[in-house]
């Protein structure tokens, strides 16, 4: 049984369709990355799949429970952590945890046991008597995560969990997520960071209310819109990238080329071998230090898909 099923979800606000027939499935234990620009309907989908917002049509099933029939049942089974730090600054770590234990209906000995367990899992025990407002950003997020998983939910929604925290804390939080997903917890994560998207085991991309990509990072890199048949990608490392780019673009078999740091990413006809490329580049006055075949990265994928969808939308509007 999938952990989360979105089946043709639609949400309308008057005439405006915020979410337009979104479908996907998330399997248990997956780290599902839900991406999309701000205002694309991301938050609306989350709200529907957490039982806060009624769906206009379609079905949402979370941990086997239908969000329309039993929104409270869904709320009891999930944990949610929002983008800004949303715990109580003037309560201590322990008091915040106690509050969430009570909210999910845990009482007495069982509550104490669960609090103890969660503190161990997230290693926040040493800070338990500190006011939440006095914690650093990374620890605050950890506390928020602890609160969200206090009642032992199998599914956790994290809405931009790493916005505004430092790289080390970010890395640690992701390590923790993988740890927990290894224990069977399903994560529904939104993010704007591509490196975080790369770490997800399953990705979906929403744009203007429609889902335009759904798959693992690997399958997304290979989708034909991004890598058309008969082409290959190469990374060309060289000294003077700016002039090298200008020269490389004169070669007829190179379809497109862009600079990435100290190298050039080029999309070209797959009839040309690496040795031929090397020779042609030398002739054009570029001296490559290294040439490697390359998969498109996720940013390429999403940018390409967004452009395509945009021109589709403009096309339909012109009609």
């Amino acid at each position: 049984m999938p952990a989360i099923v979105a089946d043709n979800l639609v949400r309308k606000y008057g005439d405006f369709t915020a979410v337009d027939g979104v479908s996907f499935q998330v399997q248990p234990g997956e780290v599902f990355g839900f991406l999309g620009p701000n205002g694309s309907g991301k938050t609306t989908v989350i709200k529907m799949l957490t039982g806060i917002l009624p769906v206009t049509s379609g079905r949402g099933i979370v941990d086997g429970i239908d969000v329309t029939n039993d929104p409270d049942g869904v709320k009891q089974r999930i944990g949610y952590m929002s983008q800004k730090f949303s715990l109580y600054d003037d309560l201590t770590v322990l008091e915040n945890l106690r509050f969430y234990a009570q909210i999910y209906g845990l009482r007495g000995k069982e509550a104490e046991r669960k609090i103890e367990l969660t503190m161990q899992q997230n290693a926040i025990e040493p800070y338990k008597n500190r006011l939440a407002g006095k914690l650093s950003g990374g620890w605050k997020q950890r506390l928020a995560l602890s609160c969200a998983m206090m009642h032992g939910p199998k599914i956790l929604y994290l809405d931009e969990p790493t916005a505004g925290i430092d790289p080390v804390a970010r890395r640690k939080l992701w390590d923790l997520l993988f740890d927990l997903s290894g224990q069977g917890i399903t994560f529904f994560v939104t993010t704007h960071y591509m490196d975080e998207a790369e770490r997800c085991s399953h990705l979906a991309y929403i744009y203007y209310g429609k889902l335009i990509a759904d798959g693992t990072p690997e399958t997304l890199r290979e989708i034909p819109e991004v890598s058309p048949p008969g082409t290959r990608r190469f990374e060309i490392a060289t000294k003077d990238v700016t002039s090298a780019l200008r020269r490389a673009r004169t070669l007829p078999f190179i379809r497109s080329a862009t600079i990435f740091g100290r190298s050039i990413h080029a999309l070209m006809q797959d009839t040309i071998s690496e040795a031929e490329l090397q020779r042609e580049l030398e002739q054009a006055g570029v001296h490559p230090e290294e040439i490697r075949p390359l998969l498109p990265d996720l940013e390429d994928v999403f940018v390409e898909l967004t452009y395509r969808r945009q021109s589709e939308l403009e096309g339909s509007r012109a009609l």
Partner: protein, 397 residues
């Protein structure tokens, strides 16, 4: 309460999920912790009332006494032109003024200019001018005129002094007209009921209690929810199984407790420090005050459902507090208001509480006299709560 869910699969979950107050205990626990750490709130509830009571109860006296009065008595000047001031009859009249407790003659002047100067400079609130022909007119049996100048810049002083001066004039005239030993035909014997000594604390403190309870109930509850909006924690709460009723009640109850504590403290202070007698039932007073608190807690909820920042909430609270002070009969009597304000006073909850607290404390009124006020309060409270609940629902979607 102990059969709330232990395990998501067990049957006890049913009891948990059907409870419309679900989440109440958690919110109550958390809110009490907030309150305990919020020294501003505690100060608002427990310290400010005492200070206000001291100011209004001890320092302000609305009774007009010992008003500074200057006298220009011309009547004696003609006859003596010496150190003896005034004539015999004018001195008798001035003695009446002196013994009235309303006037305090602090200076005699000897010219119109000096009299005007004393008034303009504000040294004197009242000026008496007795003309040179005062005695002659009296002897001839004509009407002798006495001029009374009153400083109108303080309307309550002006009103009272004028009344007392007229009464003295009338009384003195009667005495001269009636034959020796005969009493006036009508003898008015006034008795001020409920507050026989006309003590200001008796009048002010029951009203002040009504006004003070506003702050804790309306403003602090409004703040407590708006703070969560600002922090984003409210959004987080919506994703938990807390029910709206549980959330609201959990928020309201700690402040209700604080308001009750405040009220008991005010009552004790009023009774024992200011010696304001409580003629009616304290229990009834507490019971009806609960209706009033309910109304204002609901209004606080209503404000917080609309306001998006603490500043916004503050201004909206002021919109409720100012009418409560000025249109409730606390300072200005309702009966003298222009009809439009009089009508508005019916929509101010404090108006009803003012009736209740003065009624029970000063007049010893019972439930039979006051139930309409309580009903009005409950009606407004439920109205506000319904509106608030509707706004909260809209906010989620």
């Amino acid at each position: 309460m102990h059969l709330l869910n232990r395990n998501t699969e067990s049957g006890t979950e049913v009891a948990w999920s059907n409870n419309p107050f679900r989440g109440f205990r958690a919110i109550f626990y958390k809110e009490s912790l907030h309150l305990r750490r919020d020294s501003m709130a505690i100060m608002f509830a427990l310290l400010i009332p005492i200070v206000e009571m001291i100011i209004l109860g001890a320092a302000i006296d609305t009774n007009v006494r010992q008003v500074k009065t200057v006298v220009f008595d011309q009547s004696g000047l003609m006859e003596h032109a010496s150190d003896v001031e005034g004539s015999q009859s004018s001195r008798a009249l001035l003695d009446r003024f002196r013994s009235s407790d309303t006037f305090k003659i602090y200076k005699y002047v000897y010219s119109d200019e000096a009299l005007t100067h004393e008034m303009v400079s504000g040294h004197a609130k009242v000026g008496l001018k007795i003309p040179y022909d005062f005695d002659r007119q009296l002897l001839r049996g004509d009407s002798a005129q006495v001029m009374v100048l009153v400083d109108g810049s303080d309307s309550s002083v002006a009103g009272q002094t004028l009344n007392v001066a007229s009464a003295i004039g009338l009384d003195e005239s009667l005495r001269r007209m009636l034959p020796e030993g005969k009493q006036p035909a009508i003898d008015i014997r006034p008795k001020v009921m409920f507050n026989p000594d006309s003590r200001s604390p008796n009048f002010f403190l029951p009203g002040l209690m009504t006004v003070l309870l506003l702050f804790v109930t309306t403003m602090l509850t409004a703040f407590s929810i708006v703070r969560e909006k600002e922090r984003g924690t409210l959004e987080q709460l919506f994703v938990t199984p807390v029910r709206p009723l549980g959330l609201m009640m959990g928020k309201i109850m700690p402040y209700f407790g604080l308001a009750m504590t405040e009220m008991l403290m005010i009552l004790a202070f009023m009774r024992f420090a200011f010696r304001v007698p409580i003629h009616g039932s304290v229990l009834l007073l507490l019971l009806l005050a609960m209706c009033y608190m309910f109304t204002h807690l609901s209004l606080g909820m209503l404000i917080s459902s609309k306001a998006n920042s603490q500043n916004d909430a503050m201004q909206r609270s002021m919109g409720i507090m100012l009418p409560s002070i000025f249109l409730s009969g606390y300072i200005f009597p309702l009966d003298n208001m222009p009809w439009i304000f009089y009508l508005m006073s019916f929509f101010v909850p404090a108006t009803y509480m003012m009736q209740i607290s003065r009624g029970i404390i000063l007049r010893g009124a019972g439930f039979g006299d006051l139930w309409m006020n309580a009903a009005a309060l409950l009606l407004m409270g439920f109205g506000a709560l319904t509106l608030a609940a509707r706004n909260f629902k809209k906010m989620i979607v």
